[in-house]
């Protein structure tokens, strides 16, 4: 018999009892993002009552020291006040295990700790492993986890980006993971997918009857997707020198935003239905030729009122580095809906401002009778989805300027996401950790998606081997290289004005 008292109560997604094991727990991600997210979930009582956290890292320290650091992280980066009753509940289930990833005694200590927690906290053998570790440690840790996997409870693995550095390494990682885990047990994080505004893109498209009929090549002139950062590499030269903008942003965040923009309506909102549609878009992406791709690297300049060094002057970066800090491309989705509709995408560091947005530019009105009296050229309608900051949606429409005559100006109708639903937007990691505990992979990247993304990146990078870029080619604080402007000007278009 179902619970009659539950009727009308808010449906609370409470996961099974479980322990989350964070590998790489001494890293910045754990302190800045993961613990604040876990605290926010505890604050809202969204964690299971039988719950535990095990931090695993090489750094020698005690559980008490680890907790003190995490508490400070929650205070500094959390979105909720630090309440002792919530923190104490969470902290009671926290353990720290210092170990080299490839040491048997360390793995034994972890296994013992987890068994103890099953007894003390009732976590029932359910394990969620969060791999916030460098790629070189990956094989060892995954192998150990697989070999020591017990028959009791479920096991899931969250894998942080970067997921490989090219198609070959990504395929290798997938093969390694699948040696021990089924695909439904693997959760590849792209934290952009956990953002409320990115999910709202699906709501906007598929919960409103007015957009879908015009969401195609007949009504849309082109799409622009921008992932702009004003900051530099923030001391991550080692990582960034190996990745560059194409691997850091384009391969994952940018292509995911493109897939969500271009995908067909899924039959439902289950993980496989949504991901099936996204992967179709990725497969349909036409590999751009060299003339449709621009790469750049910033030189010195001024960003937000402060002088910024050029990329090659950043600590840890080679003075002759050819790593791109900017990437732009004109892409085509070769399918019935989007044939011949360009998707202009760009991502870069040290640009004029931080902004992630998707701009859908519609075709011009076919016969505007007031073309001669338009105040600013009677621009086409643009539906602008602001992913960050100022999350929301704007629609640019032409309106008559009050007074005699017929002068038309473009005005914006704005919907500010946080303004309409001021409940405090959850951080992406809150949603993603909770979903992985619930076994819901809708907002995670599937094996075939990752491989399609790398196929495209490899094809673009392959063409780069044949020529040497002339870097730096844009000034910090601007909007990227002149060649990026030419990329769109050639088609009689321009990047959105900011």
């Amino acid at each position: 018999m179902s619970n009659p008292l539950a009727e009308g109560l808010p449906v609370r997604r409470r996961p099974d009892p479980c322990a989350i094991v964070i590998f790489g727990a001494s890293g910045d991600l754990t302190r800045r993002k993961l613990f604040p997210a876990l605290y926010a979930l505890a604050y809202r009582r969204l964690l299971p009552e039988q719950f535990a956290i095990v931090g695993v890292a090489r750094t020698e320290r005690t559980t008490k020291e680890f907790l003190a650091d995490m508490r400070a992280g929650v205070r500094e980066h959390g979105r909720d006040p630090l309440k002792s009753e919530v923190w104490n509940w969470l902290a009671d289930g926290v353990r720290y295990v210092a170990t080299e990833f490839d040491s048997d005694p360390g793995e034994d200590a972890l296994a013992r700790t987890l068994l103890e927690l099953d007894e003390e906290r009732g976590t029932q053998g359910n394990r969620l492993y969060y791999l916030a570790i460098p790629p070189q440690a990956f094989e060892t840790v995954v192998g150990e986890l697989g070999e020591r996997r017990t028959g009791s409870g479920w096991t899931r693995v969250i894998v942080e980006k970067p997921f490989g550095t090219d198609l070959a390494s990504a395929t290798e990682l997938n093969t390694l993971l699948h040696r021990w885990f089924d695909e439904h047990e693997v959760f590849r994080i792209d934290h952009y997918l956990g953002k409320e505004t990115v999910q709202n893109m699906l709501a906007l498209r598929f919960a409103n009857g007015i957009f879908e009929p015009i969401w195609n090549r007949q009504f849309i002139d082109h799409v622009q997707i921008t992932v702009a950062e004003s900051m530099g590499i923030e001391g991550r030269a080692g990582f960034y020198e190996r990745s560059g903008a194409i691997r850091d942003i384009f391969q994952n965040h940018l292509l995911q935003l493109l897939a969500l923009t271009a995908m067909e309506p899924p039959i439902d909102f289950t993980a496989d239905s949504v991901r099936n549609e996204k992967v179709k878009v990725l497969r349909a992406l036409h590999t751009p030729g060299p003339k449709s791709v621009v790469r750049g690297q910033y030189g010195p300049g001024w960003v937000e009122g402060e002088e910024a060094p050029g990329y090659r002057e950043e600590p840890g970066v080679a003075s002759s580095s050819e790593t791109e800090t900017y990437f732009a491309a004109k892409l085509f989705v070769d399918n019935w809906r989007w044939a011949d509709t360009p998707f202009y995408v760009r991502a870069g560091k040290r640009l004029a401002r931080r902004e992630t947005s998707i701009a859908i530019q519609f075709q011009r009105a076919p016969h505007p009778p007031f073309a001669d009296v338009a105040g600013d050229g009677l621009r086409p309608n643009v539906l602008l989805i602001h992913v960050q900051p100022d999350e929301g949606v704007s629609l640019a429409v032409g309106a008559k300027v009050p007074g005699a005559g017929m002068t038309i100006r473009t005005v914006h109708m704005d919907f500010l996401y946080g303004g309409a639903f001021r409940t405090g937007l959850p951080e992406a990691y809150e949603r993603l950790i909770l979903d992985s505990m619930l076994g819901d992979a809708t907002l995670f990247t599937r094996e075939d998606e990752v491989e399609e993304q790398w196929k495209l990146v490899d094809a673009i990078i392959g063409a780069w081997q044949r020529d040497r870029p002339s870097f730096p080619n844009y000034q910090a604080g601007g909007w990227g290289p002149a060649a990026a402007d030419e990329l769109v000007h050639r088609d009689g278009r321009s990047w959105r004005r900011h």
């Binding site: 018999m1 619970n3 009659p4 008292l5 539950a6 009727e7 009308g8 109560l9 808010p10 609370r12 604050y43 009582r45 309440k83 009753e85 919530v86 900051p389 100022d390 704005d414 919907f415 500010l416 946080g418 303004g419 309409a420 639903f421 001021r422 409940t423």
Partner: protein
């Protein structure tokens, strides 16, 4: 100039001033509903305090109706814009607040004032402060123009008899009760105790009268059983015991008045669970 035209003139002037002050870039006007507050003068300070908290969560055109029937008939209205700064956002949003004092006979006919001020296509809520005057024209008219009536039966004397009068409105307008919303953490606790509480015969509540009555009514309706209620008075619900066994209190601080009202504004349809609880309070 009529009162509605005067309100619209004031709002228009305020919007133009905001835009001019910000160099042509107006803040965003944001509305998710029209929020009508019926607040007799003695309830007004509390209503305004709740609104101050609420506005951040549910930007709405808010219309305070302040009835003063014992005075010479006239209407006074004042409009204002309220700015809210959003954390992390570069722009502020604003929403509109209209305070209307209804003197004399006007206090008995508020619909003609409210109706033209409702924002089209968005839900309209009325938070009725104090006990509604059952059968009076002002209640009848407001119920006729809003989608949801939000009351707090904890503000009423004469319980449980008043619930019978409230019940008569259920087929005319969706009704919410802040007292029932306050009980949500305890209702969740009881739901978590299922099926152990499935054969409950007695419930003991340490808390306000309205809360205790509604909790017992809810249990009776959901479990379809006769359940005896005993109550020990307290300002908030401090303890609940079923058949002598105390429940573990809910986690965290109880929500404040703004949060409680805000949660009600998220509910759009009829709350059949609440209606059944009210029908079973006696």
């Amino acid at each position: 100039m009529g009162v509605i035209a005067e309100i619209e003139r004031q709002l228009g002037a305020l919007r133009r001033r905001e835009t001019a002050e910000r160099d042509g870039h107006a803040d965003l006007r944001m509305s998710t509903a029209t929020h009508v507050v019926w607040a007799p003068p003695r309830w007004l300070p509390q209503a305004q305090a709740t609104f101050a908290r609420l506005e951040e969560r549910h930007p709405a055109r808010t219309i305070f109706l302040i009835p003063e029937p014992g005075r010479r008939a006239r209407i006074e209205a004042e409009a204002a814009l309220k700015d809210v700064t959003l954390e992390g956002a570069e722009r502020e949003i604003y929403s509109e607040v209209v305070e209307i004092r209804l003197f004399g006979a006007a206090a008995r006919h508020p619909a003609s004032i409210v109706l033209p001020l409702l924002i089209p296509d968005l839900p309209a809520f009325c938070r009725w402060r104090g006990r509604p005057p059952w059968g009076a024209s002002e209640l009848d008219e407001v119920v006729g123009v809003v989608d949801r009536l939000v009351v707090d039966s904890g503000e009423w004397a004469g319980l449980p008899g008043q619930y019978g009068r409230l019940e008569a409105l259920f087929d005319r307008v969706a009704v919410s009760d802040i007292a029932f919303r306050r009980l949500l953490p305890w209702r969740v606790r009881l739901a978590e105790a299922w099926p152990a509480v499935g054969k409950a015969r007695r419930v003991r509540v340490t808390g306000p009268r309205a809360d205790a009555l509604l909790l017992a009514g809810w249990l009776r309706a959901r479990l379809r059983r006769r359940i005896a209620l005993t109550r020990r008075a307290a300002d908030t619900v401090e303890a609940v015991a079923v058949d002598g066994r105390e429940l573990e209190p809910p986690f965290g601080d109880p929500p404040g008045p703004g949060d409680l009202l805000s949660a009600e504004l998220d509910v759009l349809g009829r709350d059949r669970v609440y209606e059944a609880a009210v029908q079973s309070v006696r």
